[in-house]
Amino acid sequence: MRVGGGIRIARRQGEAAYDVPPNGQADATMAVNHEHLGHLLRRAGFGASASELSALDGKSTFEALAYVMDVDDQPDDVDSKIGQPDYINVTARGPFSPNSNVEDARQRWLFRMVHSRRPLQEKMTLFWHNHFATAYSKIAGTFGAVQGTKMMANKAGELPGPQGQIETFREKGLGSFRDLLVDMARDPGMLVWLDGRTNTRQRPQENFGREIMELFTLGVGNYTEEDVYAAARVFTGWNLRLVGNALDTSGYYEFVYIPNNHDPTAKTFTFPIYPDGSKTIPARAAGGGMQDGIDFITALATHPATAERLARKLWNFFVSEEIPPDPDYLRGATGIYFANGTRIKPLVQYTLQSRWFQNPANWHGRYAWPVEFAVRAVKEVGFLGFSVDNMRAPLIAMGQTLFEPPDVNGWELGQGWFSTGAMLARMNFASIIAANQRFNLASAAAGAKDSPDTFADYFLERLSPAPFEQEPLDSLKAYLVDGAAWTGSTAQLQTKAAGLARLIVGSAEYQLM
């Protein structure tokens, strides 16, 4: 289907074209400026590195978007950079084992966020990690640390067994949402996390059946308790089996459907399951009963409430947490979602291309998540000689430990990040990275040492806080001459560069991205 006047996008063989309607679209041929590019890369990635900024300088909005959106055009080589000079360090305790040691898995993911040439891929992985929020600790508590890490983070082909949940998000996070849901229903980590592996026809277990409707698709208010009971029965028999030795890194758990545990009777819901409006999944022989779940997931993925819920979440994630979604945006986004068979990439592209995303009034209108804040700080302040492992404890204090969302609802976003303790932890991380980069910062800023004004301007340009108004700007500059007159001496630059970077990165202005 082609929407008249819209932008048709199909640039790669084997990838179906998709349509973006004309309404709500910004002028794609406009040349992108520095501010605009910074906005795009903060929202669709983890902030712009100097090399990204220079590579995209002078390109059109369309070209900048294409760089972000066409993930597959950029090399997927980030993992091969781990341990190389000129990149952020990882800290190895014994052999670096990101597939079987969760701390190393965290390090690998943070490394990817800092250095990936596919920033949107890592960004959507984080989005889905929050959406399908699964915590390592329960899995590790059930099957041990090795299997727990494998279920979360095993990279396909590195250790035997299925890829980890995060790797599925990386692979399919921009593909069909319906397919992603099917993958999640069979995901070993999810089958442990929401107890699907214990759900049998003799004793249905509602945990997954409830959350797939409440949190992964429809949202509260669009289903009843009876729907929860029926959903539990749909997924009876979806289980795990162990292959090899669970204590060994070569052993693994994989999805298995056990017909004998499946409830073969009909399941009736309060909303349509099939395109003909039928609300009942028919009784079927247990051998083919896995189709119940497929039918149910397809119904959930194509339910209007799901489309709207995803659109709202993407609006909050990419456009603004300050203003609610524009009705035109919701209409456009849900239309795109259905027109493209629940694929996420067109929906994201529509969002990033929209006039609401492009509108400077919405820039710096989102509260940075702790990992977004910390990774961006590292990219902008500097990382040579710093290790991603040094982000670990601060991120806990800021309230976001990767692979450890507080519950299946994910993290409390927006203002929820900013308890006083968490804000203090952000300020203190600013101190850590500023202290670590003191000498690099002082020498990089030496060319701007003429006056406190030029020195401050250099830092405000290099770091990318929301605009400072006059009063806080004056406080920032007053700090530079507090204690001693400005001389630009090396000692003064080293002291004040670190202090100034700390003040900017620890400011409220910097927390808004």
Binding site: N199, Q205, I396, T420, A422, S431, S475, Y479, G499, L503
Partner: protein, 428 residues
Amino acid sequence: MKNTPRASRSPRILRRTFIRGGVSAFTLTFAAPSFLADIARAQGARGRNLVVVYLNGGNDALSTVVPYQDPFYYSRRPTIAVPAGQVLQIGTDSTGRALGFHPRLTGLREIFNAGRLAVVQRTGYPNSSRSHFQGQDIWGTGDPALKLTDGWLGRYLQTLPDDALLGWSATQELPRALVSREASVPAIPNAAAYAFASPNVGAEAARERAAATAIASHLPAERPQLAFVNRSAQGAFATLDRVASVASYAGSVAYPNNGFGVALRTVAGAIVRGVGTRVFWVQTGGYDTHAGQGAAGGGAYSNLMGTFGDGLLAFHNDLRNQGLLNETMILQFSEFGRRISENGSGGTDHGAGAVMMAIGGGVRGGIYGTSASLDPAPSNPALENNGGDVKFETDFRSVYAKVLDDWLGASSTTVLGGDFRAGAPPIV
């Protein structure tokens, strides 16, 4: 004698300065002028604090307070029921139903026997939500319709003279109950980690802190997000030094070495050091026991009860040793109870009626509310959801109202936005 005055700003500051250190002298004087007696009374009321303990995940009330003579309890929970011989008997409710604590709650039974623990059975609200998140919001806001977005404790704190440490959440994230439009409540899970860091040292670090404080003082009305984050930063700066006084607190008893124990010791430190906090929030998780609750009073649920009961006993004894029990009330809740019948994985799914507890020197101990018969017959009015769940009997807001009116000396109708005093169990 221990006072916990404090408040901070504006009109009250003079009065408080005047009172500090002088209250006991005046209260010992028979001829104290009446206005001073009034002030002393008011200050006594202000010294009271509330420690909310939240069991995250939907606590299985029937395993906490066990109706060990109900045959349906055993027939519907063939593997996870606590054997009658193991429960810690606490007597009978007003209808004569025998009840016992989970065997790991030996400490709580001690407190119960001392008359300082109230059990309120079957708390909840009509059409109980089985969603954790909706349930948390309902208990947090005190509004089952969820028209209110701020928390019931946040609204209470707003009625007090403003101070950055009026509330203290010993969690990483601020719970809904403490969210308020005006008062910013700090989240301080561990006082020792709550300190200002600088890349520089000495006077230079102090200059940086002064600059950071000045920058955070900027609250532009037209940039609400910026103002919000700056209020958090301000809250941090305003509380750093007082919290530092708590960091070294060790307690008069040994606390269990787990997150709950550390949080409770931190809270006790804040009470003992008198930093002026009125409402504390502590939580412990793992209560979403869909699977593997454990058989015969042991296993995973038993561990949860151990963490819960051992931590509270240490906290209770610590405050008792320091003469602070009469100023403190612990109020425990969870977002819902669980399904009566166990599921196929040795656990229980989301249910309705929940159990609350109150502990403290000012608490009238005992068993409040009635235990439900667990007979699944349709004629049993104590159950809902086709006999699947325990139906609530006491509106949780009536408990809130009781605590607000009779413990904290506030107006429950103002804070809760309505009169929920009817049917409140007389726990204070």
